[in-house]
Amino acid sequence: MTVFIIRRLMQSVLVVFVMSFLVFGGVNLVGDPVEMMVSDEADQEERERVIKSMGLDKPWYVQYGLFVTNAVQGDLGKSFVYGEQALGIIVHRMPATFELALAALLMAVVIGIPLGVFAGLRPEARTSKVIMTGSILGFSLPTFWVGLMFIMIFAVMLGWLPSTGRGETVPLMGISVSFLTMDGLAHLLLPAVNLALFKISLVIRLARAGTREIVHQDYIKFARAKGLTTQRVIMVHLMKNIMIPVVTVLGLEFGGLIAFSVVTETVFAWPGMGKLIIDSIQGLDRPVIVAYLMIIVMVFVVINLLVDVLYSILDPRVRLQDVKG
């Protein structure tokens, strides 16, 4: 098991390096950074000064080297727009995004799995057909439009929930979270559901497909032949087998949640990383863009690693094979 983890860790580090190079290359070499920094009237001297101060006169590999050394120390440059450390700005907004993403993930699991398993066990029932059609709608509907509709219906027309922003926050282990307050929950509900919609549909379809496959397996029939209650057969024998593909996909999709939060955060004006990156792309705030991308890459790599480990825990066939090999 340890060998496995170490091997994956090394792969992850490699990926991070490659991505850092790509990000650096892409953002710094394509497009002219100087143009963004100086006004149009600046003369040659002014430009030279800016170029020197940003180290743009040095060859690219030196620039990259500097980039990496700084990055490792946590310095990913200063935001053009905010004037502060890019990394710091992003980290400051991370909790909001993670809170949203985790809430959506939770909903996807809690709502998606039971519905999917039901649809898989009784594929001919009308409820199942409704669920499946609903799931197609769920991943066809563009997230941003659904968000708009939510706001329109629940906030403007019905007035039940607030339309934008994050609610009251409370510090939890040093991080400010909003789900512990009623106001926070009210603000969290719509965006979380919005973000979760796509994932719920995905989980429903996965759970249903998995259930349909598993239900016909010999070991399920054998479990029934042992006289186990239907409840136990489903909750233990079936569930444990379904969890493997579901968890794997969900884990990988969590990264997607974080990425997609870009849309939800924009619609609901949720103060997370997503909104930041959109503003930064539009405002050409390169350091923030670079910092965001690096962080995202790190998050992804960590998630992939965790999912691999989790997968091997859930499926003993994988885990024990690795020990032998």
């Binding site: 197609i136 563009p142 997607g256 959109i278 992804f300």
Partner: protein, 310 residues
């Protein structure tokens, strides 16, 4: 028996038939039309494509003709009449454009961009996938490694990164969409090509010293078509949705050629003051387009995949 001639037909995955007059295509069509939902979706899709292609003929006004558009007409609710007696069936947007016209043209752009990028991505992805599966070894590993890495990042992120680097413009969007999509096609085609590669008819073709290119395109590819078609429909829907999202976020198509996404985005500001139609109707159009494509793709998948016949 997998003879080469049989597999030029696109739906070779179906079981051998007794000698009936039924062709594989007719059987496929019958199976497809078995689902009423999918049939309706197909018809709707046909209508939408028709509207998009003949936009200039169908649309009541040309929303880009600045001479005809008057700010006096702006933000009028559905059903109201304009100064010169035309009815705005779905209302007008913030600049005074008739929403129906704007939507039809927007549909054309959304569909056009989505389909075009899809086709190019399919061509590139399928070729790469075929090559990877056929030549195997290091080539395959290298290619699939790239594919896997790209696919482990969500498409919206890849698109954002690309756009941050490339900047704005229609061509940049299309390039970004192509780059986002090719990997899915590559992986799908490689998967089915791998299965086909080991079948005997490929061995036979190789023995006959038919050139690589010919084997790839005339023998291998037709058999990989079924899953490719399914992925194609679903990916196209995805591309259309992605473009709309990007336009909505403001990093997509430029304002001069508004797709449905941009129309929705324009209407966003007016929503809180109750002028919902500016965002609502384009959204419905987008929705209907994507859902129809997905429903058709779903039924295609059920029909073309024999394994699910339980």
């Amino acid at each position: 028996m997998n003879t080469v001639a049989e597999h030029v037909a696109p739906v070779a995955g179906l079981p051998e038939a007794e000698i009936k007059v039924e062709t594989p295509f007719r059987r496929f069509a019958a199976a497809f039309l078995d689902s009423k939902v999918a049939t309706v979706a197909l018809v709707v899709l046909g209508i939408l494509i028709f509207m998009a292609v003949f936009a200039s003929l169908i649309s009541p006004t040309n929303p880009y003709d600045l001479a005809k558009v008057s700010i006096m007409d702006s933000k009028m609710p559905p059903g109201s009449a304009s100064l010169d007696g035309m009815t705005f069936w779905l209302g007008t947007d913030g600049a005074g454009r008739d929403l129906v016209s704007a939507m039809i043209y927007g549909l054309r752009i959304s569909l056009g961009v989505g389909v075009m990028s899809g086709i190019v991505a399919m061509a590139i992805g399928a070729s790469v996938g075929l090559i990877a599966a056929y030549f195997g070894g290091r080539t395959e590993n290298f290619i699939m490694r790239i594919v896997d890495i790209q696919l482990s990042f969500p498409s919206i992120l890849v698109a954002l990164i690309l756009l941050a680097v490339l900047g704005k413009g229609v061509d940049k969007i299309i390039i970004a969409l192509i780059i986002v999509q090719w990997a899915y096609y590559a992986r799908t085609v490689r998967g089915s090509a791998l299965v086909e590669r080991n079948k005997e008819y490929i061995e036979a073709a190789t023995c006959l010293a038919i050139g690589h290119k010919r084997i790839l395109f005339r023998h291998l590819l037709p058999n990989c078509l079924p899953p490719l078609i399914v992925v194609g429909t679903i990916q196209t829907a995805h591309a259309i949705s992605l473009e709309a999202t990007l336009s909505f976020l403001g990093v997509g198509l430029p304002v001069s050629e508004p797709s449905l996404g941009l129309l929705i985005s324009n209407g966003f500001d007016y929503m809180l003051s109750g002028k919902y139609w500016i965002s609502f109707f384009p959204g419905v159009a987008l929705l209907v387009t994507i859902v129809s494509i997905n429903l058709v793709g779903d039924q295609l998948r059920d029909v073309l995949n024999p394994r699910l016949e339980r």
